[in-house]
Every structure is written in structure tokens, then in C-alpha cells.
């Protein structure tokens, strides 16, 4: 009867929501298939939603509707108010976590400048001279002419990144 009183689907659903959020940044981001679109995380959120739904039903059930054919047992009495509060709080938190995930991945991450004047295909790449990590000046021309693997390079891949922020 204690097993029935402990509303495990609510807790499992809440924990799974947390895992669904964190696993993107710590696990799934390392694999292009699960990073470019976070389907693995959305799947985890869907399972969490199912568990929460079951948990909410348990918390708010009267204890009689499902067992009308059998005589009421001690453990079958209506759930205490505490259980309803826990279910409400954990479900709300889970929804908030989901909302924050959607915001981070689909809205926040799209707030990038449009870069309309960035060099386009078949344009010349603007020349530059910058310091390498030993403080030596390096120009685009140096990069395009000094050998790669003992041969003249076929090209240079310029990777602009945000830096160690």
C-alpha cells in the first residue's frame, strides 16, 4: 500500500525532464545527428510528459473510480493534499524546463547577426594579417602559400568562432 501512495510517475517524469534538458548539452551535442535537431531530447520530453500525466491522474484520483468493483482498502483512500501539491509543483517545473529548452535551442541560438555583407561564393576573401598563438603576424597570403603536408595548399578553411567566453 505504500507503493501505491508513493506517486513514482510524477517523480520519474520530473527527473526525466531534467535529464532531457541536460543531456543535450552534455551528451547529444557531441553527435551531429542528435545536435542539429534535438529529436532525442524531444523524445525524452515526450516520455516525461506521459509519466507526468499518469502521475497527475494518480494524485487527483478519488481512489474509488478505478476500484468500484472491489471493496475500498486502507491504501485506497483519497490521496492527501500534499500529494496533489507535489504533483502540481513538479509538473509546473517540468513544463518550465521544457519551455526553457525550446527557448535555448530554437530561439536564443538563432539570435545571430545576419551578416549580409560577408564574403560570398566567387568573391575574393578580404586579406588580413593577425597574430598567431605565438604572437607572430600571419597573413591570408601566408596561409594560402605556405605548404600543407609538404605541398602547396589547395585552400584554407577559415573558421570564425566565438572564442573562450
Amino acid at each position: 500500500m505504500n507503493a501505491r501512495r508513493f506517486n513514482w510517475p510524477i517523480w520519474a517524469g520530473f527527473l526525466l525532464s531534467l535529464i532531457a534538458f541536460l543531456s543535450y548539452f552534455f551528451v547529444f551535442v557531441w553527435f551531429p545527428v542528435t545536435r542539429d535537431f534535438p529529436w532525442a531530447n524531444l523524445l525524452l520530453f515526450a516520455i516525461a510528459a506521459g509519466l507526468l500525466l499518469v502521475g497527475v491522474r494518480r494524485a487527483f484520483s478519488t481512489g474509488q473510480s478505478s476500484r468500484e468493483d472491489s471493496p475500498p482498502k486502507v491504501g485506497d483512500r483519497p490521496r492527501p493534499r500534499r500529494s496533489k501539491i507535489a504533483a502540481t509543483v513538479l509538473t509546473t517545473l517540468s513544463v518550465a524546463i521544457f519551455g526553457f529548452f525550446i527557448f535555448s535551442i530554437f530561439i536564443m541560438a538563432r539570435r545571430l547577426p545576419a551578416s549580409h555583407s560577408a564574403p560570398r561564393i566567387s568573391q575574393r576573401a578580404p586579406d588580413f594579417t593577425l597574430s598567431d598563438m605565438n604572437g607572430r603576424p600571419v597573413s591570408l597570403l601566408d596561409l594560402l602559400t605556405s605548404p600543407v603536408n609538404g605541398k602547396a595548399p589547395r585552400g584554407v578553411l577559415l573558421v570564425f568562432y566565438r572564442g573562450y567566453w
Binding site: P113, A118, Q123, R124, G155, L157
Partner: protein
Amino acid sequence: MTILQLRVSEHQSSLAKFEEVGIRPVAISVDTPELSRNLAEQAGYSFTFLSDPKADVIRRYDLLHASAGTNGQDIARPAEFLVDSSGTVRWVNLTENYWVRARSDQILEVAKTLR
């Protein structure tokens, strides 16, 4: 290694393949040379890091993401350019979503067509 260095780390893991086809990957950010050196030593990166602390080149390439750094400093938005030996841009990736990036395989395909 943090998630934020992911973009760079991916190119490191493909470095041998890039060099095989004669492509030199170069990472550019507002980080100082010292910071880049520490990062490269810690994470074992062996390709070229260039430092653009005043974001002059980043501005020239129209890649400035104003006040987007942790301390509100100007930084570069993520972008990749494949430039051939004549200095002409042959492929560009200006991602619209920070989490969506070009895959090294895509870049290698284009690289193989360069003369």
C-alpha cells in the same frame, strides 16, 4: 573542453583528412594569443589559431556579434569560409542557429573539387 569549443574541436578531429586533401584549417576569434595557446595546449589542437582582439577582421568579414560575449564584449558569430589558393571564396557557411553546424564531411566534399 567546453561545449563552446565544440566547433573548433570538430575540425581538429578531421585535421588529418583536411591536410590529406591540402586544406589548412585556421581558427579565428577575439581571444588573445595567450588564451588560444592555453586552449590549444590543453585540448591538443594543432592547427593555426589567429587572434583578432579588436575584431577588425571579424568586422571586415561582417561577422561581428556585438556585445554577445560573457562580459558584453564584441565577438565573432560562427562562420566558415573555404578559400581556394587564388584567394577566392568557394564555399560559405553562415549558420542561422548556433547549434546547427557544417559537418567536416560536407567541407571535405567541396575541398576535393578545388584545384
